[in-house]
Structure formats: C-alpha cells, structure tokens
C-alpha cells in the first residue's frame, strides 16, 4: 500500500517510548510506532486527546517528556524546511494586510534575516507552487478576500513552497462547504501523487479523505498507535475512540463511510 522511495530510506516518523507532558499534565504516553515515508496518514482522536501536542512535537515546538522522536531520521526542528505546516484558522489575524502571493513567498524567505529582495529563482518557485495548487488566478488578492477553499489552497502552497518531504495539515476541511472539501481532498491526492510528499492530516470527519488514506495514527486511552486504514475503519475501534457509537457502512460503489450508529 505504501509507495517505497529508495532515496528516502528512513521512516517519515519514528517514535520510541515517547510521552507528552504539558505543564504538569500527562497528555499521552508509550508511543512506539513507525510511519513509512510516502503515505497519506490521518491523525485521529477525541477532542483533548493530544493530537495538536503530537503535531507540535513533530514540528519541534514541544519536546518529548521521554523517549525519542525522529522525523525522516532527524530530530524534530532540525530540518524546518523539511515539513510544511497548514494550521487551523489560516491567515486569521492579518489576512487584510497582505496578498496571498506574499504569504506564500514568506514560506520561502520568512526565516532570512536582513533586508533583501526575493531573487528571480524564488519568484519562479512561488509561481510554480501557486500553479500547482490552482491558485494563480487569485494570488494577487488580499488573503481576507479569498473564500475558505481558496485560502486553504494558499495555505497548502505556503507549506509546500520550500519543498518539504512531509505536509502536515490541521483540520484542513473544517469550515469548508462540501464542494470545497472535495476539491481540497482531491488536491491533496494529486499533490501526493505528483510530489511524492508524505501527508499527515488531522481530521474529525474522515469521510471526505477515506479513499485517500493509507493509514492512521489514533490516540486511544492516552496512547498513540499507528495502523493501516483497514484496521482503523472498524466499528468497535472507532466507537471506543470517540466514546460514541460509530458504524462503518459501505456505499454501493464499495467505499467505506463512517456514521453515528443509530
């Protein structure tokens, strides 16, 4: 199921006996799993289970309280351009004061100290990535003037502009209408095929993504686990995970679909 990539060797994620603490509170513990490179992986769990903490740990913003985390064989935070991050509420603060294109450019140059124009190669790179996410048409507009779906494309462009090996998205489909959800999901599938990037996506509603997902990290009873999608899409596991009856049904086309059990 996973595409193997001989150049990349190391697992996208490797956690060994990791626990997470915020303040004095133990968020989760005993995380030991590997996520192979090249897949599309969901990160699921109930509210407050520690999904964001795990994301922050992978990004190097929260150190593990114990154990060892490796991202493509390196310590988190060692290779900041190696991970693209799409947060929730993208562009919520300053959307009125900046063009979409400038935001994407900052994804490439935002860490550079001192003044200096962007060079032609950087501008070309920004143009390429805007085209790759079909955002060229509205790249000159203010971020706040874009629709939710358009803004999500810009967020993905900004995350990908530095050529990362992994793309992390926090609830990328929340607050989008059905059509935009489907468009962003198919964009993720296409980018995964074309760029070979590993995708880790946090989502409460897995249905729009189910056909894309290879595996999932799930936070159950205070411990993160990793399993293939066939094992995760299971009534008993999902019911336990969310603390409410969940049923997996299949559409006439054979696609699995999760819903609240009656």
């Amino acid at each position: 199921m996973f595409r193997s990539d001989p150049d990349r060797g190391a697992a996208a994620l490797a956690l060994t006996g990791v626990s997470a603490v915020r303040g004095r509170r133990l968020i989760w513990s005993e995380a030991t799993f590997e996520v192979p490179a090249g897949g599309i992986v969901a990160l699921i769990g109930a509210n407050g289970a520690g999904k964001t903490t795990l994301l922050h740990m992978i990004l190097g913003l929260v150190p593990p309280a114990s154990g060892e985390v490796r991202v493509f064989g390196r310590r988190p935070g060692e290779d900041n351009d190696g991970i693209g991050y799409v947060p929730q509420d993208y562009g919520a603060t300053a959307g009125e004061a900046i063009r979409a294109r400038d935001m994407v450019t900052l994804g490439l140059t935002g860490r550079r100290w001192a003044f200096g124009q962007t060079n032609p190669a950087q501008r070309q790179r920004v143009r390429e990535i805007l085209a790759a996410v079909d955002a060229t048409d509205f790249a000159e507009r203010r971020l706040a003037q874009l629709s939710g779906g358009q803004r999500q494309r810009i967020a993905i462009a900004e995350a990908l502009v530095s050529g990362p090996r992994m793309l992390i998205l926090d609830e990328p489909l929340a607050s989008l209408d059905l059509r935009s959800q489907r468009e962003i999901a198919s964009l993720l599938g296409r980018l995964h095929r074309e760029l070979g990037v590993t995708i880790l996506v946090v989502a409460h509603d897995l249905n729009p993504l189910l056909s894309l997902l290879d595996s999932a990290i799930y936070l159950l009873d205070g411990h993160p686990h990793h399993a293939s999608m066939t094992d995760v899409v299971d009534d008993a596991l999902l019911t336990h995970l969310y603390g409410t009856p969940v049923q997996v049904v299949h559409t006439p086309q054979g696609e699995p679909y999760m819903r609240s059990a009656p």
Partner: protein
C-alpha cells in the same frame, strides 16, 4: 478675510515658519513621523494598538517621577517605556489576558503619573507636555535623541524585517518554520517603546495613536503590500506633521491637534472611498468581514 481673522489667522505665519523653533519642530516632527510609518504596519497587523497606547501611559509616571528626582523627564520616560515593553512582550501571546493586564497597568501608571506630578510643584508643564506633546518646544538635544533613536529603529527593523513580518502575519506557521516568534515579540515591543518615546514628545500620550496607528491603517487600506503600506504610512505621517505645523503657524492653534486632525482626515477620506468601492463590487469580492464558512464560494469561480 474677516472669517480668517476671526479664526485667529496670523498674517505673519511665513516668518513664524522660518523661526528656529519651527525648524526644530519640522525636523523633529518629520523624524518622528518616519519612525511611526516604519512601526505602524506592524502595530496594526500584530494588533498591538492598545499596547502602544498603554506604553505611552506607562511613560507618564516615568517623566513626572524624573522631575521629582531632578533628572531629565525624557530619561524617566525612556526607562518606563522600555521596562513596560519588556513586561508586555514577555507576557506572550494570549491576547485576552494581555489586554486585561495591559489595561490594568495603564490605569495604574496614569494614576501614579498624576500622583508624582502632584508631589512636584513645578512639573505641571511636564505633565501637559507628556499628555499632549509639544512639537514647538523641541530642542536641539531632542533632535539628536530622535535621530539616534530613528537610526536604531531603522537598523533593527531592517535586520529582523522578514522574520518579524512572517511572525506578525502568520505566527503559527512562522513558529513551525523555526522563526523565534516569542523573542521577536519582545524585540518588537522594545522597538515599539522607542517609537512611542519619540511620538510622546511630539504629539503626546493621548494623541500618539494618530501618528503610530492611523496612517498605517490608511496605508493597509490602500495597498496589501507590506513595504508599500509602510511607505504610504510614513508619507501620510510626514504630511500630517507638516500641514499641522503650517496650519498651527497660520492660526495659532496647538500643532498636536492639527497633526491629529490631518491624519484622521486622510484616514476618513480613504475609508469612505474604500467603503463606497466595496459596496459597488459584486458580493464575494468585498470579503473584508466574511468569516471563512460564509465565504466558502466555489473555488474556481471567485467572482461568481
């Protein structure tokens, strides 16, 4: 002409403009205006307007306290502004908490300033100068001080420009990319304190928003490009200072009031035009206040 005379028109205003104190006012005011333009964009984008206002108030007990101790008021102003900036910057990013703490400190500082002022019999002019500024009393020493502060500001903003911009417009992603967002927040507050220190001496604690914030807000309405918005803000600030000083020479009115009036007038004019233009635009393009879920228009046809 009678109407002009009734408004206090000074027929010899041109000579007043040529006088040494007016020279100092023009040069000092221009330097302060340029510094304001440089900082304003970041203040607006980072939503630090309230913090900048508070910093100016925190400077008040510094200035009046300095008079009590017999040291130059500007020294006390500087120490209190920078100290306050370090505290506000270190408080971190939880905006709601920060507003409450900032507001509380603001009120206490103003009260303390008033108390110090009441202890010293001669300092009431210091109090008025800090509250409302006095462009016309800018000395040669102050000009040197302004120039040094402006040089420091320009150099520092130049050095941290991109990371500061990134952490201002998109803090979560900047942080994930390894930009030192927290440290930059403290650095920015200290730079803001320096700008506030200058602006207080020009237009005073109560009016400095007109130079620090209003022109930047106008610039952002006119262009979505950060560097251009900063340039426009600087131009508007400089024009406000020049027109304000010229008009104050003509009509013998306090310059602070006129500077503020010009800056706010330009903002109001641009805002009105912007509003009118947006209401003529088809729905879906105006977008300013649209929450994400309400704006989830079909992705490939933005104009509907």
């Amino acid at each position: 002409m009678t109407a002009l005379v009734a408004m206090g028109y000074q027929p010899h205003w041109w000579t007043i403009l040529g006088s040494p104190f007016m020279h100092n006012a023009l040069i000092g005011g221009t330097v302060v205006a340029l510094a304001s333009g440089l900082m304003g964009y970041f203040i607006v984008v980072r939503r630090n307007a309230f913090a900048s206002h508070a910093l100016a108030h925190i400077g008040l007990p510094g200035a009046t306290g300095a008079v009590l101790l017999g040291v130059p008021p500007v020294l006390g102003l500087g120490v209190f502004c920078v100290g306050g900036a370090l505290v506000i910057g270190a408080m971190g990013k939880r905006m709601a908490d920060r507003d409450v703490v900032t507001g509380t400190v603001l009120a206490f500082a103003t009260g303390l300033g008033l108390f110090f002022n009441s202890l010293a019999t001669k300092s009431s002019s210091t109090m008025t100068n800090v509250l409302f500024g006095n462009l016309l009393a800018i000395t040669g020493d102050q000009l040197v001080g302004f120039s040094v502060l402006f040089a420091i500001l320009t150099l520092c903003v130049g050095l941290v420009y991109r990371p500061l911009l990134y952490s201002s417009v998109n803090a979560p992603v900047a942080e994930a990319k390894g930009v030192p967002v927290r440290a930059l927040s403290v650095v920015f507050m200290v730079l803001l304190a320096l700008a506030v220190m200058m602006a207080v001496q020009a237009v005073g604690t109560l009016l400095l928003s007109a130079l620090l914030i209003t022109p930047a807000a106008t610039g952002i309405m006119l262009t979505p490009r950060p560097s251009r918005a900063m340039a426009i803000a600087a131009v508007i600030s400089v024009v406000s200072v020049w027109v304000g000083l010229g008009a104050s020479a003509m009509f013998n009115v306090p310059p602070s009031f006129l500077v503020v009036t010009v800056a706010c007038g330009i903002w109001l004019a641009v805002w009105s035009v912007d509003r009118a233009r947006q209401s003529r635009r088809p729905a879906g393009q105006s977008g300013v206040d649209h929450p994400v879920h309400a704006m989830a228009a079909p992705t490939r046809c933005p104009t509907k």
